[in-house]
């Protein structure tokens, strides 16, 4: 018997332990943020931390990004499958995995660290930490490219290994990680940041176990998951019932579709019949697609309550085994996030017409991951940048869409200040302003995307990016107009202009300007219902031109 046994305790102590579990994952999150070496972790928050029970069920999560909440369960399960918890897992062990098809969930850059917490010789819980490492080797700088065709090109694979064995670090592994990365110092620093974060959690959890006893803790965890399920089922009961569908077309012309069936007992998402596994890197694993379902469910069923394994009990996903939404090893997956956000947006689109109080019209719906690098013009050191972009959100039933916010896949993600970016990254930023392109009008207008212009200051730089929603803008709702699209323009020093929605290691030289343009969100409601006073204010604030206002709203000053 490897597990502790639960000892029932009074409701007050239960509540106190449960709130301590949240405090522990919050502290793990804060520690990671403060010790990480790269802005993709500490500012973009492309990382997550969680506590699982002894069986690998999510107990508490400290993630600031909804997209990472459900990602750590499969990682812990993969450890339990490979290592017998009774004979092969010990106090002081730390495991490491990143293969998306086998418990890593997302892409090779997202490295999962897992620490078992032992009390009295038995596993009480698992702590896990997953973070986007800037570079894990492979063909492409940043280890990401839409052009990858198999996972071997995308970097170093860590097939669920024990990197720290009873507190003894396997230095060989660290050395291999370092030599395979284009940024070894950052890679090793981020590894230790992850370890520090889990060890902080372990200390607190052990103190809690000492105070209340492992049996009480176990009871509180079980009760917490039960409560999560009870809250979830109650929220499910309040949702509109029926079958809801949406279709869309990807930028490369593939039709995608989703059917959602909501009953009193289940929330079933049927993604069968979608395009097969792709030859490029825009594939998602089954686990990544399941996270999309978790996120949309949480948005409509108790967005402001906690989430744990109980919350997601009513969910079910049906998807073809070899589809682009559940691709098999060794398919390439480095750009999985764009495929995942397509699924998320599709589910959102299916439900928005019946749940407008929770869901606005379509937003810019692309992570807009922008990877650039080269030698820093001041230090001469190799430098790389990983940045998602902010964009416009859709209008909704009682207000205009939000301007310039990260996607629904992100959360408490911060952009990098211009002043910091220029010093750190060795670029100039010529402007950062709202996108004034036409589109997304409605009774409630779509929010604005941005224009962000990076000026390159040294020769031999490169850019890799793959934005979706580059052909067709975010969908309007209830008569609102479609928004605009995501893309970049490269203005060459000689005056030439190029437009891309996807490129790999495109050369950039001193004096070139990369202009990022993100989409304006979709409108809500017919434009003819927008009061003229609001249109006048829009013109005054430069959100719309007088001509366009006249054309769309029939407004004359």
């Amino acid at each position: 018997m490897i597990n502790q046994t639960a000892t029932p305790i009074d409701p007050i102590t239960t509540e106190i332990i449960q709130s301590s579990l949240t405090a522990i994952t919050d502290e793990m999150f804060a520690t990671m943020r403060k010790t990480a070496m790269s802005s993709i972790i500490y500012e973009v928050l492309d990382f997550g931390v969680a506590m699982m029970d002894a069986n690998g069920n999510l107990a508490s999560s400290g993630s600031g990004i909804p997209g990472f909440i459900g990602m750590l369960e499969p990682g812990v399960r993969s450890v339990m499958e490979k290592f017998d918890p009774e004979t092969e897992v010990f106090p002081g062990d730390i495991f490491m995995t990143n293969i998306p098809h086998h418990g890593g969930v997302s892409h090779l850059n997202d490295v999962v660290l897992i620490l078992p917490v032992f009390v009295e010789g038995k596993i009480l819980a698992w702590l896990a930490n997953k973070a986007h490492w800037v570079d894990v080797g492979g063909c492409f700088p940043g280890s990401i490219s839409p052009d990858a065709t198999e996972i071997y090109q995308e970097g170093l694979q860590l097939p669920c290994i024990k990197v720290i064995d009873k507190n003894e670090t396997n230095q060989a592994v660290i050395d291999i990680l370092a030599i395979n990365s284009r940024v070894p110092d950052i890679t090793v620093g981020d590894f230790w940041a992850g370890v520090a974060s889990m060890r902080a959690g372990e200390r607190r959890l052990l103190a809690l176990a000492e105070k209340y006893g492992p049996g009480a803790l176990l009871y509180a965890i079980e009760d917490y998951i039960r409560t999560g399920e009870a809250m979830s089922r109650k929220a499910l009961g309040n949702l509109p019932k029926g079958t809801f569908e949406a279709t869309d077309v990807t930028d490369d012309g593939l039709e995608i579709q989703a059917t959602i069936n909501i009953s009193d007992e289940e929330f079933v998402v049927d993604l069968r019949g979608n395009p097969p596994q792709r030859k490029d890197a825009l594939n998602a694993s089954y686990d990544a697609t399941f996270v999309d379902v978790q996120m949309i469910y949480k948005a409509i069923a108790g967005a402001q309550t906690f989430a744990n394994a109980g919350t997601f009990k009513p969910l079910k996903v049906l998807v073809d085994d070899d589809s682009m939404f559940a691709a098999k090893y060794p398919s390439a997956m480095s750009v999985y996030y764009e495929t995942s956000i397509m699924v998320f947006d599709l589910l959102w689109k299916a439900l928005a017409p019946v749940m407008p109080e929770s869901l606005p019209a379509g937003h810019y719906a692309s992570i807009c991951g922008t990877f650039m690098g080269g030698r820093h013009p001041e230090t001469g050191k190799d430098h790389s940048i990983v940045e998602p972009q902010i964009g416009g959100w859709g209008g909704s039933l009682d207000r205009d869409g939000l301007n310039a916010l990260y996607t629904g896949y992100h959360g408490d993600t911060f952009n990098v200040p211009v002043e910091v970016a220029e010093q750190r990254n060795g670029l100039m930023i010529d402007r950062l302003c709202l996108n004034e392109d036409h589109g997304g009008e409605g009774e409630y207008t779509g929010g604005k995307g941005i224009n962000l212009d990076y000026r390159i200051l040294r020769d031999d730089w490169w850019i890799t990016m793959a934005y979706v929603r580059s052909k067709k803008g975010p969908w309007g709702l209830n008569g609102g107009l479609e928004g605009t699209t995501n893309y970049i323009k490269v203005l060459r020093k000689d005056g030439q202009e190029e437009r891309y929605s996807s490129c790999t290691a495109l050369p950039l030289n001193k004096g070139d300007v990369v202009q990022v343009v993100t989409a304006n969100g979709g409108g809500y409601g017919s434009p003819e219902n927008r009061p003229h006073a609001k249109v006048a204010a829009d013109i005054r604030n430069g959100y719309i031109t007088a001509d366009r206002a006249n054309k769309i709203y029939g407004y004359n000053e």
């Binding site: 409701p11 403060k34 090793v188 948005a299 967005a303 869901l359 629904g408 010529d430």
Partner: protein
């Protein structure tokens, strides 16, 4: 003019005045007194003058008057500032609206982003550009300013904020812009970002400048009225304003950048704790303040109040809020106070707060119609608060209503009324304990090395239990716990905090540049003080460096030597950084260390007499301090027949063993079984949670 020194702190409910006369013979403080009057929201200064009247103190007898006020934070949260325009660098007028793009309420797809304080049509751009080193790429197009000012005038703009990109590295363009505005519109209210902050992050700095301009006319008018009211009363002493950084400053400086007083009330309580610690020779302190709706705590390390430059207003789990980049005492605040309500949710979970019964209807015990039990009610239910001496005897607590409320609460969980009351206190203590951990354990400090100084209405009641939980060995309940914020101001020196972002590798070759940066800041500080007739001899400094490993974002602060910094000093600083980093995060790296900013705190000494000691011979025997014996419920430490003492009658040197309760007007001190209590020579109460005799 008699030599009376006074401080007044305006809170939401009460205006506190603390004052003392200086004994001509001993030079010591003769007798410290306090007056509480009701706050007069529309005319704060009238309330202050009334409190002086009530105290019988004439303005002309005041040699020193320090003032803390909520005028700035109120104008911000109630959106009662003026119509504000912003001038910024070409290409960046939307920074204020874009903000940082974050969505803390991360599952919610109907998030509402905080609205910018300056609308887009009042955000204007000028041609100019600096690099991050402060070099000029594009000179300022000064001719563009006049048309902007004309537009602002036509729109009825009453205050202008200026924030240019990289102005922290070079203030010249902002300065030129301000000079031009002054030349064209001499009377316009204006704030430039560099007057408040020389640190990078353009959104934070722009927002700070905008919010400062937005409240400046209101705050200046208020401070002028306050000065006038005092002068009409014959005041000729020195008038100081309490700032958010835990120090006072001159009124002229506060009028210039009023955003510096945004958090003055809570800051002065922490300052009071630091000042009391200094008096008693205690340097490592956790300041803990429980009010009606919230509890606040802050850590004082080596006598130094911790500051943050990441202060936010209106930020919570649902909203990104607004950053204010001005040094503010680093306080963790949670929604648990005496009025916080205990409740059970639909999934049978008990919670306490953040809803509060407020002043109306207040706790059930007030008998003003409240039916939901609060933390205060739980303390009555358990016999810790005397129902017959409730709020200093102002009200007789409605004990039967309290019982009924807890019976109702307990029935939802199938537990007794007493267990429900215990539950409310345990959960409230747990919440407050988490806040205390956030400022201590989570930052790498061991609570066993600290003394808790507890104040505010509820501080003394919960302090000992919390200290025990966190293994804090000693708790001090100050003599003036109920008016501690105002007391803190009386103990304060002038304080100005300067920070300069200077991203550099921390290596011996950069020593001269770092040394020079410190020297320049100190010179600037001395010049500012002496221009306000403050003696150069009274100015003293503290210097810190914000350091990190190359590539990181978050910094760790390290104390820097006051003299020149050379190569050896740099090596020592790297060692101190590695030690401090390891203490916080359990590991160290061999990576390069990077400087982010230089920080200088410039104090100016305020002449301050010593506080006199109490004369034990004027007190009666301990027996005379006993009010009664009653049953008090100490939760897991049992129900005990407990002796209740009157605080004012406890002589210095008195020693008591728990269980005991000490009552004073407006506050109750609970001494648990196995704890001991000692009264020091100033009348502060020291509780030893280890039961020791010291």
């Amino acid at each position: 003019m008699a030599n009376i020194r006074a401080a007044s702190d305006i809170g939401g409910t009460f205006t506190d005045l603390v004052y003392f006369a200086v004994d001509e013979e001993t030079g010591q403080i003769a007798d410290m007194k306090a007056v509480k009057t009701h706050t007069t929201p529309d005319e704060f200064q009238a309330g202050v003058m009334t409190s002086l009247d009530v105290a019988g103190v004439s303005a002309k007898d005041l040699s020193f008057f320090a003032h803390g006020s909520t005028v700035v934070i109120n104008a911000l949260t109630e959106r009662k500032g003026v119509k504000t325009g912003l001038i910024t660098t070409q290409g960046f007028r939307d920074i204020l609206e874009i903000a940082r793009g974050n969505r803390p309420d991360f599952f919610n797809l109907r998030y509402q982003k905080p609205e910018a304080f300056v609308p887009r049509y009042l955000r204007r751009e000028v041609t100019e550009r600096l690099t991050h080193r402060g070099e000029v790429v594009t000179p300022l197009a000064i001719e563009e300013i006049e048309p902007i000012l004309q537009d602002f005038k036509a729109e009825g703009v009453e205050a202008i904020a200026v924030c240019l990109l990289h102005s922290y590295a070079n203030t010249a363009h902002e300065q030129q812009l301000c000079d031009e505005i002054k030349r064209l519109s001499p009377d316009v209210t204006m704030v430039a970002s560099h007057q408040i902050s020389r640190e990078w992050r353009e959104y934070e700095r722009t927002n700070t400048a905008a919010l400062c301009a937005y409240v400046k006319p209101i705050a200046s008018a208020y401070l002028s009225e306050m000065e006038n009211a005092l002068q009409r009363g014959g005041f000729t002493g020195s008038f100081y304003v309490m700032q958010s950084n835990g120090g006072i400053d001159t009124v002229s400086s506060a009028k210039e950048v009023p955003i510096s007083i945004v958090e003055s009330g809570p800051a002065s309580g922490v300052l009071g704790a630091a000042a009391l610690g200094k008096m008693l020779g205690i340097n490592d302190i956790i300041a803990f303040d429980i009010g009606g709706t919230t509890a606040k705590c802050s850590l004082i390390d080596g006598g130094r109040v911790s500051l943050t430059n990441q202060y936010m207003i209106e930020k919570d789990a649902r909203s990104a809020g607004y950053p204010i980049m001005t040094p503010v005492v680093d306080i963790v605040e949670i929604g648990n106070g005496g009025g916080s309500i205990g409740w059970v949710d639909e999934f049978d979970k008990m919670h306490v707060g953040p809803q509060s019964a407020g002043a109306m209807p207040g706790p059930v015990a007030y008998g003003k119609g409240g039916t939901e039990p609060t933390t205060t009610d739980a303390n009555i239910m358990l016999g810790r608060i005397n129902p017959n001496y409730f709020i200093g005897g102002e009200i007789k607590a409605d004990v039967s209503a309290v019982k009924l409320a807890f019976e109702k609460l307990g029935s939802q969980l199938d537990i007794s009324a007493t267990d429900a009351a215990r539950g409310v206190i345990r959960i409230a203590n747990h919440n407050m304990g988490n806040a205390l951990k956030l400022v201590s354990i989570n930052r790498g400090y061991d609570p066993r090395d600290f003394t808790m100084i507890a104040f505010g209405g509820g501080g003394a009641m919960h302090a000992a239990a919390l200290a025990q939980e966190l293994n804090i060995p000693k708790v001090i309940i100050p003599a003036h716990a109920a008016v501690f914020s105002a007391w803190g101001m009386l103990m304060s020196d002038l304080r100005r905090d300067y920070a300069l972002t200077l991203p550099l590798a921390l290596e011996p070759s950069n020593a001269a540049q770092i040394s020079k940066a410190f020297e320049n800041i100190r010179a600037e500080a001395v010049e500012a003080y002496t221009s306000e007739s403050i003696d150069f001899e009274d100015v003293y400094f503290e210097q810190m460096l914000e350091l990190r490993y190359e590539g990181q974002e978050h910094t760790v602060q390290v104390l820097a030597p006051l003299g020149g910094i050379d190569g050896t000093a740099i090596k020592d600083l790297i060692d101190s950084f590695n030690d401090a980093y390891e203490r916080k995060y359990t590991y160290r790296l061999k990576n390069n260390v990077e400087l982010v900013s230089c920080k200088v705190t410039a104090f100016a000494k305020v002449d301050r007499p010593e506080i006199g000691k109490l004369d034990a011979s004027v007190f009666g025997p301990l027996k005379a301090a006993i009010k009664e014996v009653r049953g008090v419920d100490f939760d897991e430490y049992g129900v005990h027949e407990t002796t209740i003492y009157q605080r004012e009658k406890l002589a210095p040197g008195t020693f008591l063993s728990g269980p005991a309760v000490v009552e004073e007007s407006g506050s109750t001190i609970v001494v648990f079984p196995a704890h001991t209590l000692k009264v020091d020579e100033y009348g502060n109460l020291h509780i030893d949670t280890t039961g020791g005799l010291s």
